[in-house]
Symmetry: C2
Subunit: 210 residues, 2 copies
Amino acid sequence: MAEKGISQAVISRLPRYYRYLKELKDSGKERISSQELSRIMKVTASQIRQDFNNFGGFGQQGYGYNTTYLYDEIGKILGLDHQHNMVLVGAGNLGQALVKYLKFKKSGFNFVCAFDINPQLFNQTVGGVPIRPISQLRSYVDENDVDIVVLTIPKSEAREIAHSLTDTKIKAIWNFAHIDLELPPHIQVENVHLQDSLMRLSYNIHKNEN
Amino acid sequence: MAEKGISQAVISRLPRYYRYLKELKDSGKERISSQELSRIMKVTASQIRQDFNNFGGFGQQGYGYNTTYLYDEIGKILGLDHQHNMVLVGAGNLGQALVKYLKFKKSGFNFVCAFDINPQLFNQTVGGVPIRPISQLRSYVDENDVDIVVLTIPKSEAREIAHSLTDTKIKAIWNFAHIDLELPPHIQVENVHLQDSLMRLSYNIHKNEN
DNA sequence: TAGATTGTTAATCGATTAACAATC
DNA sequence: TAGATTGTTAATCGATTAACAATC
């Protein structure tokens, strides 16, 4: 999957296609046209065809798309045919909730270790995953196969931790800290800024006030 | 704040401006030009001026923007000068983590009650917030001042709960269930789809493979 | 073959960037 | 006043939608 220059707008729509296609194939639907999918997903058929054709032709004229095949192909584009090892940095409430959320594991995103500064958590486990002192993070990452670092620590510490890992072989940071991380291009950053999300919600609640 | 037809692209940038302006004002910086902010935030000065001018002129020619004033104005645009009461639906790991996260409260987003189906949680509290049976959700919403419903339940139940609230006075749903909710336009929906976020991350990790 | 529907090019729309006159 | 910088119009760029030829 080395298609270059696909816009993030397209990428952001892929998980949604993936979700709908799973439902369609699970409900026994074998084929679907862009027009029918368009009605279900409330986007234009044109956009659907353009989006898929960024990655090559997955359909067949006069027939449409095979749901299972398309589902599998989108999965491959998204890299979901790979296993991803993750470490949690910050075993607080949110961090522990993420580790315990089993759906990630089913999708191949697997927590292998957690780290925290709180000594009371050391030698405990969360969802079967051991919690270690954050001082051991660097050596753990160096010695084990870690793809993704999940940052659920306050923003005051997030930047330093992230920068301390720039010369390791980690591939990405899933960042829940309310901060913009500036990292070298070989490390991908995906932000989950819950505060920003709430603010957008708030705007939309109040936008019609006068 | 009744500016019509502001694109969601602009709205989505406002929380980030708000965050940077807070830091600038807190660090004692009184004024900033679009050019200087442009360098700090890594967006064009043109975009900054265009974004702000969607809501009226907040700056002064030859001077720039007053950080505190601009910060406050963006806060008002985002509706952060209002208090928002929230109820949690689904007091599992993620839900409890959200209730315990104190930053929301500081921004005026205040959990007033939680609901769950698990009887073992009834009469318990989480972060000082009582947990009640979900059967009482509807009457609670009818009898109390609730602005936002936070949905942290499995998708199989999310749609039904959301629809059961369409004729109440709630203004928005903050949806963590992995599902698209279709609700009447007077109820705003803001999705936090963690799985989608992880998939985007996965795509970006693998996009350069060949 | 005829009908259906993709893949793809062209047209449109909207968002971003550039330019500059207005003005502090 | 002169310099700086906004507010705003114009130009560009990119994304979405429409159209249709290719083809199953």
